[in-house]
Amino acid sequence: MKKILKLSVLAVLIIFSGCKEFLDRQPLDSLSSETFYQTEAEMDLGLNGVYAASFWVFPNNMPLLWAIETTSDIAVKRVGNPEDLIAAGDGGPFMINNSLTTTAWNQAYKLVANSNMLLEGMQKGKAGASVAGYSRIRAEGLVLRAWAYYHLMGWFGDPVYFTKPLQPAEYESMPRTPSATVITDLIKDLDEAVSLFDAASAAPIIKYGRVNKGVALGLKAKIALMAKNYTVAAAAAKAIIDGKQYGLNPKYTDLFLLAGQRANANKELMFVQAYPTDVLDPQNWLAVITIPRQVGSSQSSHFPSQALVDQFEGKDGLRIDASTVYDPAAPSKNRDNRLKWSIYMQGDTMLHNTSKTPSLPYVQPREKTIFNIYSNIKYKFNWNTNVFDNVVGNIDWIDYKNSPWFAGATGSSGGVGYVWRKYIDPDQYSWETKTGYVLMRYADVLLTYAEAKIEMNEIDASVVDAINLVRARAGQPAVTAGSKSQMQQLIKRERAVEFASEGLRLFDIRRWGMVAKAMTGPVVGVSLKMDDPAPTPTFDNDNIPDYTAGLAKRLKTRNQNRVNSAEKYKLWPIPQGEIDKNKNLVQNPGWN
């Protein structure tokens, strides 16, 4: 009996010791943090993860910055739920939990967290990496983190600022840091990045979709401009210009087509949110969300506004109220070429690719349609007969009433009679488009330089040259140096038309202090009747059109007026959930 007892005790002990190993299970398909970042290859994999965190999207495969354009005056969004309305700048009680602002907050901080993880974690593997490799990876990490904070400050003001991975004890106690302090740090980081890129001999262009020395300098210029530190902004932009590594793509439209982006003539594209062509996901559905509903498979919900259309000068280089070639009855004629490159207007022939397979007579698989909002007719190109057929049933029609809550390019809750042309690539199936979303290009550097210099009132030839370089590509006449206020007005107009739908507008109008003005009042659109054009609007010093005179003759698409005159709209509210979880976070003024 005793023997049996002893044996069983022994057996139990053996089983126990076996159990310890038996229960030791570690993750099979992931990498442990203990061992990660030991080699340069691993640092690159971690850096890729940081880039992934910089891939900012809004639901329905929209580039986030593009979706955010509708929170400015130059774009409108189809009315959906109240939150969308507010995101579109219509004011209201629910904005604190608005999905657009919350998405922006979350995605930017995901980029911060991943950059911090890389920058902190890679230090332990420094010995295992080459100097060039280590320098380049650190530089890219620094630029990407600055990219996140730049946007956070632009959207929300003072950020929750940290440069190391947070410890659990810090999760719920982080305060906001004054933007001025953050900007000082970021400029230091970007200077370091510039020197690291040099140390890695990596300048200036690395790869399509990656940041580089140019982006580091460009971002520095943009951050300084936001901080109204014009000296630094001008110097950083000048450094890029003087480096002569970049230029303007001779063909503006190529910038927004996949093939043109890859060719990147004269290296205008500096930083792009790139999409994969070797796998299906993700896709860029910008086209899907843009193509009007008189074309096949489309989900149009984001539209350019009249306020944008009227920024485009006449061919004579003058604003439409001064232009001698502008005709309110034929508004698409004799305009800055960028208008037709950016926006489809009544009577324009559109080419879209909304199908993978032909479905004749109208889908070839491309569809050719004459943009029409003034009748219930869709002008569809018949590929069998090579003529345009008149097809009844156009829900983009201005008088289309069957379903006002489900609107097209016009209608009481849809667009205002315009649709985007920019980024429409008839060579790619719209639902699988892989065109990159441009995040930084050389034209922005040029105009940033010009703006900084104008603000310093150093309006020299280099300023005029920078502006005219951009205008010349669009075929607009050269300008000559004028007064500071004339030049300010010019630069505002020039940025609006050059970068429309590129996600820069919100920061521009905030920097120029014109949010309240630009985002208040009715949202108007095309003339209600083609043969009874609304009068040309008047403009104020900031180039903001005033439609009061012809209001009755215009499509007024929304039920509500935009009401963003309150001080609080200068910044977005911090998502309420963040405030709830952290008592140290103070909400932006006016949003409590």
Partner: protein, 1032 residues
């Protein structure tokens, strides 16, 4: 020659020793008993008593024994001893007293149980004809909530919750052991179930340690027990139709009501969306699918036949040394929509071999193969919601392969989705093998060990195809093809291997000293689970009939993953029984799980329990009362249980992972130069300190039997859950998703009562069971969090888990002055503008609070409160079994006394926008107008214009209490003599119906059993079945 001699001798002996025996069988009251089986022991010779209870048997050996048996009576064995008349009084079985039930790692006499256990036998379970076995349990065990949420073929299993909700984020499903191995009820062919034991309290379950917190169900499959060969064939055929589905509005109603909505929105009484001329045309012209379109989406989409058929052959073979049970089943279930079905093959071989008198080898071999088919594009539930919601004016189908746009600009047509846009299937093959050795070296010691391995290999394949979309061309009276939907073809395929290996060794030692009975069980068990999977996809398939990856032109993608878990445990039980009066039991399990940190030594936990019982009816002072209270037992138990089924496999580990892009969540990859580049991210904040959820449970119970006819069981329990996992939200700026922490506590208090009455009145046998139970859930702690938020539901301390959170509705605003005199709602007072602020017919909410907790004359976010929850209360059932001569009737009704259900989305909102342009449902026609002030729905408005009418409020919470006739089964046992010559022993035919009749106050068209009332569901089925079983 010798052979001839022997046979002559035998027949001679027969002639000498055989007699005729007759007699009459009665019950205790003297009533004759027909249908009693009389068999010569050890032979197949036998008969059945006639309607007068008499029998006669010829050729009975003088020295033989006769066995008399009858359902519900104690079988009797009587020596013939040459008697030619043997009358027998059969005594009713006192229900359950001698019954042996399966408990954790053993069996126990039911009378001596000290825990709360419900035992179900196959006879009770096979009254209902269902595809998935989880549905069989509903209403049969008090305290066990069985909710079927869908009628989708292959997906119509029920969720089972024992004694309420036991966790917030970890698993809530009970541990289900089939023949001692972790499994799922829905993997099981219902034909092969022998018994199910449901262990509810801590004393019964704690021997399962870290997985016992949600209760345990022990399923035994059938094995061959009797000698000889028995072959049986069972089949049934069911027709399924939806229990309820929301009614539609016609094209004319859609247009007229849209106009009214538009008039309400604009304030212009002549505003129209559809011209009167068009409406008049619809009224005077029959639908022609050209310019007058009235599509009956539901009728078109739900066009499948819903037929289910089932075949089962089982062979039981018993002998001296080897017993084998074999069962082969096939079932096929068709859904209500095309391209939607489930079928399953199941082969089971359960052999037992007696190697020596004290050594048995037994095994299980079970091969199960199922295939579920669904449309490739869109879940069936979403397709059905579209069919419920889409306007009738949208074009459906104009001819073979010619689909309409459904009135949607994206051309998404639910009919095309079910019929033409491809098929998805999921095939699962499962092989379970188990070998058990049982050795009894001495009478008092039993040693058992087994090894079992279950491997299942799901294979999914989804092939999306294009359909052609047409629009009517009124001028030519033809249809023009305008495009294809969805626009691209794709194939996604995935394979995975899941392997679970279990080892067990245990020993049971029994000992008796005078009146003291001891039993000691000790054992060890280990379990390992390994998952490995791959998936791949491509797009651009030219031929719509060749779904093979090689033929895809573009977008090659693939992925692979793997994980493993392990569990080990040591368990023991001690039973003590004194004179069958005083019972004591102690259980304990020391359990280890790989899900917790080894480095921090958090893997092991100890889970003890104790229980005691007192059979007071066996006391001397009870003598003489046997006829009133024939059995009485008080029992109580307490114990600690664990729950290790975390949603994550390695919650303690800090890991950089990879992940592909999912709209709208970016993955960890980047796309430099348009090429996918692998990237790694740390995505979740780890918590190495994560450990078990713990549950403590107290149970007090009483079992009574009155007059040997009425059984009563009552239990009261308190379950306390501690260290519950919470995904405690952290600020988003941390950049990581929140880790799990052990921080929550919750409590379930409940009681269960079951009553059973059995009697025989002449030829009529009656067996009635009624049950009622209740449980109240309360979250007692969510440390450090104000509440947990999940949209319309929230979890607060002191309230039930996931309670509805919203406003209190006061009905509708009557008129302008009502609005002016009521608290300002959502910051917008009365405004003469038509589309600003509330208007008469909008919902008025109560001002119950303000920022400081007192009403502030404003209705805003501060006025939200807990307004109900969806927990079922007072679940009850009644089960009546009647048998009269050859007929048997089962009536089974089940209900819930109190429950709330929240209506939203397509269900609540007329013209609901969102993912498609919806019409309105029949129920929405009861909308507010001045002449209909008590309408069910507020004033009619277009979607998106409903203002604040559709925020979560009591207005949209409706009682989902119900009583439902779950099952009616009428069977007829054909007289044996009809088939005797054909070698058939018994033939039974039956008809049955399920969910035939429901009493409910729920929204019309919404089944009260289903939770989700946004009209996205797959309806439950009303079924009509005819079946046959034949025994050879």
């Amino acid at each position: 020659m010798i052979l001839l001699f022997v046979s002559t001798l035998m027949s001679a002996q027969n002639a000498i020793g055989q007699i005729n025996v007759k007699g009459k069988i009665t019950d205790g009251s003297g009533a004759s008993l027909p249908g009693v089986s009389v068999v010569v022991k050890g032979t197949t010779t036998g008969t059945i008593t006639d309607t007068n209870g008499t029998y006669s048997l010829s050729g009975v050996p003088k020295n033989a024994s006769l066995v008399f048996s009858f359902v519900g009576m104690k079988a009797q064995e009587i020596q013939v001893n040459g008697n030619t008349t043997i009358d027998v009084v059969l005594i009713e079985e006192t229900i359950g007293i001698d019954e042996v039930v399966v408990v954790g790692y053993g069996t126990q006499k039911k009378a001596n149980l000290t825990g709360a256990v419900t035992a179900l036998k196959s006879e009770e379970l096979t009254k209902r004809q269902v595809a998935l076995a989880s549905n069989l349990i509903q209403g049969l065990a008090p305290g066990v909530t069985v909710q079927q949420q869908s009628g989708k073929p292959g997906g119509d299993g029920a969720s089972i919750r024992i004694r309420g909700m036991s966790s917030i984020y970890a698993g809530q499903a009970p541990l289900i052991m089939v023949d001692g191995v972790v499994s799922s009820l829905d993997n099981l062919d219902p034909n092969s179930i022998e018994s199910i034991s449901i262990l509810k309290d801590a004393a019964s379950t704690s021997i399962y340690g870290s997985r016992a917190a949600n209760g345990v169900m022990l399923v035994q499959t059938k094995r061959a027990k009797e000698k000889g060969i028995k072959l049986s064939y069972n089949t049934f055929l069911s027709k399924q139709v939806a229990t309820s589905i929301p009614g539609r509005t016609s094209a004319i109603e859609h247009m007229e009501l849209s106009n009214i909505a538009e008039q309400n929105r604009t304030g212009n009484p002549t505003a129209t969306l559809y011209t009167q001329a068009l409406i008049d045309k619809y009224k005077t012209t029959a639908p022609n699918n050209m310019d007058v379109i009235d599509t009956d989406w539901l009728g078109l989409v739900m066009s499948n036949n819903g037929i289910m058929n089932n075949h089962n052959v089982s062979l039981t073979s018993g002998g001296e040394k080897a017993n084998i049970f074999t069962s082969l089943s096939y079932m096929n279930q068709q859904g209500l929509i095309p391209n939607n079905s489930y079928d399953r093959y199941d082969l089971r071989i359960n052999p037992d071999f007696k190697i020596r008198k004290n050594l048995t080898l037994s095994g299980v071999i079970n091969y199960n193969s199922s295939k579920t088919i669904t449309p490739a594009n869109g879940k069936p539930e979403f397709i059905i919601r579209q069919a419920i919601g889409l306007p009738a004016v949208g074009g459906g189908k104009y001819g073979p392969g010619m689909y309409g746009t459904a009135g949607q600009t994206n051309n998404r047509n639910p009919l095309a989705m079910v019929e033409g846009a491809g098929t998805s299937y999921n095939k699962v093959s499962t092989l379970l093998t188990k070998a058990t050795i049982n050795y009894k070296p001495v009478e008092s010691l039993e040693i058992e060990a087994f090894w079992a391995r279950e491997q299942w290999t799901p294979h999914g394949k989804t092939f999306t195809k294009n359909v052609d979309i047409y629009v009517p061309n009124v001028t030519n009276q033809t249809y023009d093809k305008i495009g294809q939907w969805p626009g691209s073809t794709s194939l996604g395929e995935s394979y995975s291997t899941n392997t679970r290996t279990t080892y067990l060794a245990q020993a049971t030692f029994s000992h008796k000293i005078k009146d003291h009975n001891f039993k000691l069980l000790a054992g060890a068990q280990s379990e390992e689970f390994i998952f490995e999977g791959i998936s791949a996809s491509r797009t651009g398939f030219i031929n719509p009939n060749q779904p093979y990856l090689n033929l895809g032109a573009s977008n090659y993608a693939n992925a692979g993953s793997g994980y493993e878990t392990a569990l080990a445990g040591f368990f023991s039980r001690f039973n003590y029984n004194f004179k069958d009066k005083y019972l004591l039991e102690m259980n304990g399990r020391y359990d280890g799980s790989s899900r917790f940190s080894q480095a921090l030594d958090l893997q092991w936990g100890f889970f003890p329990s104790a229980s005691a019982g007192w059979i007071f009816s066996n006391e001397n002072f009870f003598k003489g009362l046997e006829n009133i209270i024939s059995f009485g037992k008080l029992r109580g138990s307490w114990g600690i249980l664990g729950n290790q089924s975390l949603p994550e496999v390695y919650p303690f580990a800090v890991n950089f992972t990879t992940g592909t892009y999912l709209n709208p969540n970016n993955g960890t990859f980047t796309y430099t130069d348009n090429i996918t580049n692998l990237g790694y991210q740390l995505t979740e904040a780890p918590n190495p300190y994560i450990t078990w959820e713990k549950s403590k449970q107290l149970d007090l119970g009483i079992d009574l039997n009155f007059n040997k006819k009425i059984n009563v069981t009552f239990d009261y329990y308190v379950r306390t859950l501690e260290d519950m996992l919470l995904r405690r939200p952290i600020p988003s700026y941390v950049g990581l998703s929140a880790p799990f922490v052990n921080a929550g506590a919750m409590e379930n208090r409940g009681w269960e009562l079951s009553l059973n009455y059995k009697t025989i009145i002449r030829d009529l046998k009656v067996d009635v069971t009624g049950m009622i139970s209740d449980v109240v859930n309360k979250v007692t702690s969510i440390t450090g969090l104000p509440y947990l938020d999940d949209g319309s539901v929230r979890t607060y301390e002191g309230e039930a888990l996931w309670s509805y959170y919203g406003y209190e509705s006061l009905g509708y605003y009557k008129d302008k002055s009502d609005i002016q005199n009521s608290p300002v709602q959502f910051g917008v007072p009365w405004n003469d503008a038509v589309n600003v602020g509330p208007k008469p017919g909008d919902i008025k909410y109560a001002d119950i609070s303000g920022p400081d907790g007192t009403p502030d004359g404003k209705v805003d976010a501060n006025d939200r409160a807990i307004i109900g929850n969806s927990f079922p209360r007072y679940e009850y059932s009644i089960n009546v079994n009647l048998s009269y001569k050859h007929f048997e009737l089962n009536l089974f009704g089940q209900g819930v006394g109190k429950r709330s259900n929240y209506l939203s989305g397509t269900g609540a909102v007329p013209f609901a926008s969102g993912d498609f342009a919806a019409s309105l449902l029949e129920i929405h026609k009861d909308y507010w107008t001045e002449s209909n002030p008590n309408a069910a729905f507020p004033r009619l408005l277009p979607a998106g214009s409903g203002g604040n009418n559709f925020v979560t409020s009591t207005h949209w919470i409706k009682s989902a209490s119900y009583f439902r006739i779950k099952n009616v089964n009428l069977a007829y046992n054909l007289p044996d003599k009809w088939f005797k010559s054909a070698g058939v022993n018994g033939v039974r035919i039956y008809i049955s119906g399920q969910n035939l009749f429901t009493i409910s106050k729920a929204w019309k068209g919404f089944d009260p059993e289903i939770d989700n009332a946004n009209a996205e569901f797959y309806p439950l089925m009303k079924t009509y079945t005819a079946g046959l079983s034949v025994n050879f």
